[in-house]
């Protein structure tokens, strides 16, 4: 699954740690999601979408 997390984070000038703190997850989680090594669960995807005030499908797309 592709995602725009890195771009959205950069637009806000957030580090991976900043985003991790806001999502209450580890920095490793943010890095793994950004690099496509890990697809988040639906609850975490909703939390990410809520944080950016976007819909899930605006952040995550099929390969």
């Amino acid at each position: 699954m592709k995602n725009r997390l890195k771009v959205l984070r950069a637009e806000r000038d957030w580090s991976q740690q900043d985003l991790a703190d806001r999502l209450e997850v580890s920095r490793q989680s943010v890095n793994a999601i950004e690099t496509g090594k890990y697809d988040p669960s639906l609850p975490l995807a909703f939390r990410i979408a809520d944080l950016f005030d976007m819909r899930i499908e605006e952040i995550f797309q099929r390969d």
Partner: protein, 140 residues
């Protein structure tokens, strides 16, 4: 770069420290008692089993970590690590068993039982996570 350490991980490390301290105490107590006394019967069985209990406690601590870890990605890495350890342990023990069946190695395990190889497997599982996922996870 800050190492991730959740409350669950901190609890796991405390449990491990306590269990390992108890293990060290019991292994020396059992060793000394069997060497220097004529303990026999039920007390001997109880004392022989005693050092196994904190090791079983370590298995419990690892499983509690999997239940309590709030970060889903870290939890996935820990599960992978445990599965790798289980597969490694079963593989080593199965090969060893067959080597013993055909008298190619000496009977007994020289103190290197299933738990030892499972813990080695945890270490290898962490390395496997590092290579394939870029980070280790956190168990052991």
């Amino acid at each position: 770069m800050a190492m991730y350490r959740s409350a669950a991980t901190r609890r796991y490390l405390i449990r491990m420290a306590v269990l390992m301290s108890i293990y060290i105490m019991l292994i020396f107590t059992a060793g000394w008692t069997f060497r220097h006394t004529s303990i026999a019967g039920i007390p001997a069985y109880a004392l022989a089993i005693a050092p196994a209990l904190p090791i079983i406690g370590v298995f419990w601590a690892v499983m509690r970590l999997l239940v309590e870890e709030p970060d889903e990605f870290i939890r996935m890495l820990q599960v992978r690590q445990c599965l790798f350890a289980t597969g490694f342990c079963l593989t080593v023990m199965t090969i060893w068993e067959f080597l013993q069946n055909y008298d190619l190695v000496a009977p007994g395990n020289g103190g290197f039982g299933a738990a030892f190889f499972w813990f080695v497997g945890l270490g290898l599982g962490a390395f496997f996570n590092k290579v394939t996922m870029g980070t280790v996870g956190g168990c052991a």
